[in-house]
Symmetry: C2
Subunit: 158 residues, 2 copies
DNA sequence: ACCAGATTGTTTATGCTTAAACTATTCAAT
DNA sequence: ATTGAATAGTTTAAGCATAAACAATCTGGT
């Protein structure tokens, strides 16, 4: 019994799909959060921020992090503060703009992230182990349409 | 193949799928939260709790709510407290067990929920408007496999 | 009847998240 | 050069989420 239990039989299929999508995401996300906590004493948002930085060796500005992580700016401030305190990330002045920072992984941060990322990949592969390579591609494609549509809807709303 | 090479080359498609799944869920969820806030001055967890109760006219015990909403018990206590204060929900004694409550929608709560649910359904139908009925069924089926596998994994871990 | 263990719900401490208000700085139009 | 608007980042207050500790109650074996 879970979120899906609430769907009425007369509801359109879209509602059922939404509840199932939500359930799947929450199940996998809880799994990842638990593993990050028990194995690395860290959280998903911290991992996510480091993950963004790992792809940008020169660092990212706060607002760029905010956009990529899909969270508000105040949030990025707090998580960055913690990671700076832990020595995993550093704030560097942006020359020519005294308002902004470049946030970058430290050597220690990069090393730790790589260890976590290896495990993380295993958890994710496990999460989709019920699907064949072909089914994974199919799912990816279908969700691509949903994502595309959702993005364009957001643009319209502005 | 050494550890480092393995980290990013063996199963990149599962990772990409996970990130896309997460993105889609977050986009739709943010949309729903914004609409609930602007149109009904409420939140997704409150809506979710009322949604569970709407299907159970005799009410649900706190732990049943917790399980169906996939959140911890302390959380249900807080959200129920709020809804009780607002007169949308009521706590009723369970005869024969003085530890437990039955939580039930009030008449006002039921009325408000029905108004919200109608709108909610429209938002969700819109969110998947890029997909045909056949594609919705396909997506539903694929996610069913993921959910099934994830549930059985959780059972194993106990 | 008793008691150990399980169950039900709440409280507490901590962390993530948001929206909105705020400071500091930059940019652009005059 | 001045000034008004935009941008970058932070702070604040409120809500949601968890895990862990806790109190109250129920259950079953003796």
């Amino acid at each position: 019994m879970d979120l899906e239990a609430r769907a009425h039989s007369e509801h359109p299929e879209a509602l059922r799909l939404w509840l199932r999508l939500l359930t799947c995401t929450q199940l996998i996300e809880k799994q990842v959060r638990n593993e990050l906590r028990s194995q690395f004493s860290t959280t998903l948002p911290r991992f996510d921020l480091m993950s963004q930085l790992e792809r940008s060796p020169d660092g990212l500005k706060m607002n760029e992090l905010s956009r990529r992580m899909m969270v508000t700016g105040g949030n990025v401030t707090g998580i960055t503060d913690q990671l700076v305190t832990e020595g995993l990330v550093e704030r560097i002045n942006v020359e020519g703009d005294r308002r902004a920072w470049r946030v970058r992984l430290t050597a220690r941060g990069r090393k730790l992230f790589n260890e976590m990322a290896q495990q993380h990949e295993d958890w994710i592969v496990d999460a989709f182990a019920a699907l064949s390579a072909k089914e994974i591609a199919q799912l990816h494609k279908l969700l691509g349409k949903v994502k595309q549509h959702s993005h364009s809807q957001m643009a319209e709303a502005e």
